[in-house]
Symmetry: C3
């Protein structure tokens, strides 16, 4: 049982979160690598990707920022970033490698973010938006720091799935289901939805303003 | 009478604020449309434009973020973004269409932002800067997310008018004027100044560093 | 003796901080000048460079933002930005001119940021990261607002020195040294390290992801 700034997370969730931190940090390093940033730049972009979403959520909810009192998050992100940095100099690491763990991270971040916001008494729509922020803002920060258009705004379904899953989670809480079923169902929807969207290249409609 | 996180806003101001939220969200969607973002990307850029400035102000002042406890703001922004998205696919919507309501939004956001900061006891210059942040940071976030140089730094008078209006508001409070006269006068200066600046293309001096 | 939101800074540190604010504001204006932003854009980019890092630190640590109750910081940043703006239209101001004071600012911001975080009881790694944030986030914001890749991720040693100095400061606190020796030693390391890195073009390894 680990206590993280106010809400009690089961040990399983705590370690899956650390996995999500590691995977996001890796995605940040691989993106930063394409820009020829130096080692420090990669570590910062990796950190932004890994802890940016949860930080913005915590600031908006006026609760302690989750990584400030427990330095394990920083250690996991930094060690991962260094490992990937030195590994990628030797072995080609296709970004595709991280897509499945990243989908798992998206599911988990979104579920945890929505739950935290609900626990603080925000209205449902706001809570679901906090879930989305937790899931996608890290990736947006990563792309802004790399001076790129955020991929989450463009490719196959990603944030839309997070939002759908967050709303589903709130719906499941209205049903007579006990923990962890609502979380597992909502997280599973996001994770499987992401795998399906990637496999069949499913995206949202776009338009070009006239 | 609606209560928004600490300060009591008259019903008129509350609904004009919601109008400003809608107009800013629309401006975000139209900008995002030029980048071929998908529906979700547009909604997020619209939200950032609509609630970004007030959020940064509230974080800096360490007060509850205005849209977290009242989900009406999110609903207004999201519904507007969806409407504009589907409308703009059918009918050409020139961005010019939004310039006049946007000028109204700038005036209102700036006046409300300055007032909120003064109510929290900040010095005058800081309060006026909080007004500017409320008025223009949403547009800056919109442009950063679209990977563009912020237009507020470049075109006809915009933020300068906000700053002038905010300082004028503080001056009017020193005069024997009762509410809502200082607010109406300062807001009117910003709004009319913006119309004049757009009509005669009045801008600030620029320079190119040598 | 000046009191700044919770920690008591000696008068010397307070005025050196104001110098760092002025130098960072100047660097922001010179960068913004290359983008043909107008006067307001320059002032905002200057302000972001000068007070952005400390603001993000204070938000993450949930302490009052340092410039909100003492408007001297804003005055120093704005007056400097205006001076540089009008000066640079007449006289060529090479950005190199600011490199030495900027190195001093980096050293001071990092030491103050780390100290503030330690005083709030954060773990050592988090405190050192807060020092880095205080030292470099202003420059990152400046570059993001100018739609440029952050230079701090690319050039000669900069943030790495800040991080090293912050960790050294924490180490020095474990030794039987009384104030201000740990601060002077750590700050000196950052400042001299930066001069050496610029003189001999010392950078970190980079890689291009395959």
């Amino acid at each position: 049982m680990s206590v993280t700034t106010g809400i009690v997370l089961g040990a399983a969730t705590y370690w899956i979160t650390q996995t999500a931190v590691a995977v996001s940090a890796a995605s940040g390093v691989l993106e930063a690598g394409r820009k020829r940033f130096d080692l420090f730049g990669m570590v910062i972009v990796g950190l932004a990707a890994a802890i940016g979403g949860g930080s913005v959520r915590d600031l908006l909810l006026d609760r302690p920022v989750f990584w400030v009192q427990d330095q394990t998050y920083l250690i996991v992100a930094i060690v991962t970033a260094l490992l990937i940095f030195f590994l990628a100099r030797r072995i080609p690491l296709p970004p595709r490698l991280f897509l499945v763990p990243d989908a798992l991270g998206l599911a988990l971040y979104t579920v945890v973010g929505t739950k935290v916001a609900l626990a603080m008494g925000t209205p449902g729509l706001v809570a679901s938006f906090m879930g989305v922020i937790t899931g996608v803002v890290g990736g947006i920060l990563r792309d802004v720091l790399c001076n790129e258009e955020p991929v989450v705004f463009q490719g196959t379904l990603y944030a839309t799935l997070a939002w759908g899953g967050a709303l589903a989670l709130i719906g499941f809480y209205l049903l007579p289901l006990s923990t962890p079923w609502p979380e597992l169902l909502a997280g599973g929807l996001i994770f499987l939805g992401r795998l399906v969207a990637m496999r069949w290249q499913i995206g949202l409609p776009k338009f070009h303003a006239r």
